[in-house]
Symmetry: C2
Subunit: 462 residues, 2 copies
Amino acid sequence: MDLNREALREIIKEDSRIVFETIEPRFLSDNLGRLKGRADVLVFPVSQIEVSGILKYAHENRIPVTPRGAGTNLVGSTVPEEGGIILDLSRMNRILELDRETFTATVEPGVLLKDFQAFVEGEGFFYPPDPGEKESTLGGNISTNAGGMRAVKYGVTRDYVRGLEIVLADGTVLQVGSKNVKDASGLSLKNLIIGSEGTLAVITKCILKLIPKPEVSFSVLVPFKSLNVGIRNVLTILQANVNPTAVEFVERKVVSLGEEFMGIKYPRPDAGSYILLTFDGRKEEVEASAAQARKLVMEHGAMDFLLLEDKNLSDGIWKVRGALVRAVEAVSEQEPVDIVVPINQSDSFIDYINQLEQDSNMQMVSFGHAGDGNVHLCVVRGDRDEETWHRELKENMKKIYAKAYALGGLTSGEHGIGISKRPYFLHETPKENIMVMNQIKKALDPQGILNNGKSYITANHT
Amino acid sequence: MDLNREALREIIKEDSRIVFETIEPRFLSDNLGRLKGRADVLVFPVSQIEVSGILKYAHENRIPVTPRGAGTNLVGSTVPEEGGIILDLSRMNRILELDRETFTATVEPGVLLKDFQAFVEGEGFFYPPDPGEKESTLGGNISTNAGGMRAVKYGVTRDYVRGLEIVLADGTVLQVGSKNVKDASGLSLKNLIIGSEGTLAVITKCILKLIPKPEVSFSVLVPFKSLNVGIRNVLTILQANVNPTAVEFVERKVVSLGEEFMGIKYPRPDAGSYILLTFDGRKEEVEASAAQARKLVMEHGAMDFLLLEDKNLSDGIWKVRGALVRAVEAVSEQEPVDIVVPINQSDSFIDYINQLEQDSNMQMVSFGHAGDGNVHLCVVRGDRDEETWHRELKENMKKIYAKAYALGGLTSGEHGIGISKRPYFLHETPKENIMVMNQIKKALDPQGILNNGKSYITANHT
């Protein structure tokens, strides 16, 4: 590879936005910081023209390009394994338009989720996708088809992307999708790009769908005596016609970790597990739904149905829920897993994990988006030395993914595959599917420069 | 092309499911019957194995294959232009599973929409996609990403496809998607296939998402003095937080055509236009929504707000709405158009059509799914001779599509492109987008056997 500094300086106009020497370590990794890549240059484009210029140059010279947003991913998606160019989109962070008539906002990919949510809510609108990591970029959310808490009612990021401006590996700029609600006009390139983890194109503009801000929103905490009674109630709630926004399930032992970490206490510490529900919408509607849900769970073994009307208590309970991964990490290194299984298999999967935890003597903290079968799991290192940790982790991960697939599940519900989950994903996915994905990769990025070695990519096309 | 009858007989086991001579004309066309193709053989596979066998044979021998369901499309998608094999999926019409716990049904592609809707509603579930043509197959609905009346609230077919079994052009069988709610595991091949009009693969199984059946559902007819006041109220309703299921707009002069055809009368014949609304959901919710909608439209110039509590009246009004195309066709040949524009451009587009109707002296009957900007338009032949009709139609169609694209619209909201809309689609779509679509086609169907000459396909890869 022959990287020409002058050529790059002609594309990226300001010297302050191009770094050849001493690239900060955080740009070479993901949010966990364990995997470290290497790169020859880090650039911060501020326009589609600059992105296109960089890619055209990289394509012509077969130079690997690793796109990144805020780098909050947990699976190594932003680790530049092959050197080359890091394309950091974080400075393309303008909200370009709020179109009240079509219920859309047009933004650059580097806008942070938290900034966007605050902006649209301030204008009376609502952007439903709500991944736990609010410091992530919208471009990153789209690239992993991020999910989050509110997916039970509202769906995932894919459902809120109306259109994208993308730059292909050779620098070609495309508009895919549009402000139109319906589309039966040719192949849906937009949907191919969503969730492709930066392997097919670089996103430079996003048209996002908004909805009117719900009139009211409130949460409910439902304690249960045991783990099993709790998780079986998840299905009871989902089968009723009560349309909850969020359905989170968490064991008492996991809550305790979070309580200690945050210094906030859950009510009913005598419970074995909790379901945390949110309802939002019109007042009449959600009150009727909550009343129906209350009746149902009380008939099915709930200890209580605690309407979290006190804002401090409600915020505190969600804060503990949001801090579970950090609570685990404060104690020990851990491997995050975001397996998804069909919603009626969550209990079998969690039963299996609890059994494996005992058998393997490795702590496994499971919780997560029970309402859509997306189980988050922290596999905890504890006091294992490096070699034992890696060996035992790998053994257990293999078992965990095999079980998930046996239950009809998938490697990732919302984090993506990246580098860390790639071996398991490739092992469990039929080779025909992987082959087709690689054929598409080859068609769109014949030189194989975009985020190689990530996700489904097995062939090195360079 | 060298079609070996014995080879085909070995794949399709029953002689009654393979037709070499005298293929009925309806298998060589679409629902309109104007375009006529030719074919060497018509087969009715009943299993994925047979479909795979046929495609493998066709791939190896470079024989064109035209897949079809019920053939209800309006754009020539099922017209076999290049001869070869017609692959009719209509006998793969079993409902295989209703999974109450995951809210999914698994079906073969030939199941008719009306049969499926009746089945799931009988079981307390609801399949929201509701295209006007209920005799269409579910496989066909998926292949065109069909929309319909209820898309305003519930979205389109794409939003209800959890997984597919597909057979690629070379006979390879893939499972894409699954019963899982979330998926961030590799490229979304499922979403690439949805809406691809049979150009990339043949669907042999569908896992569809269901929702609980809404508690109540009712319609409202809102008459307005003029066309313009009516259509501007569509946006007023959409911007309010009243969550209607359907928002249809129709001019009085168009209703009159339907009334005459069906022998059913609309109330308030003194109106210049109507909005037809549906609300569904929990009783408390929809009553509150309807009350709010009533207040809004009455403040914005509605003549009345007629709650259609009488089932006969409600059914009659929807029947007239559903019969508009047939009402037009009973009088004269017509060209159906299903342009989609951003929801705030419907009025500009309809204004333009009305102006063009006057300028061109060609009757244009517009109505449609105003709630999602999907304008249905019948361009009427009248007493023009063949040559004049084709020439003037082409001239006007060019203008209509140019206007739609100038307003940010697209060729098709739900019918697809097929043969009939292909010249306009190719003309209006950036060549870079078409090129990428063709690259994907080439990657998945290198011999170019699947539904060639349709939609985006410009290169003949055979």
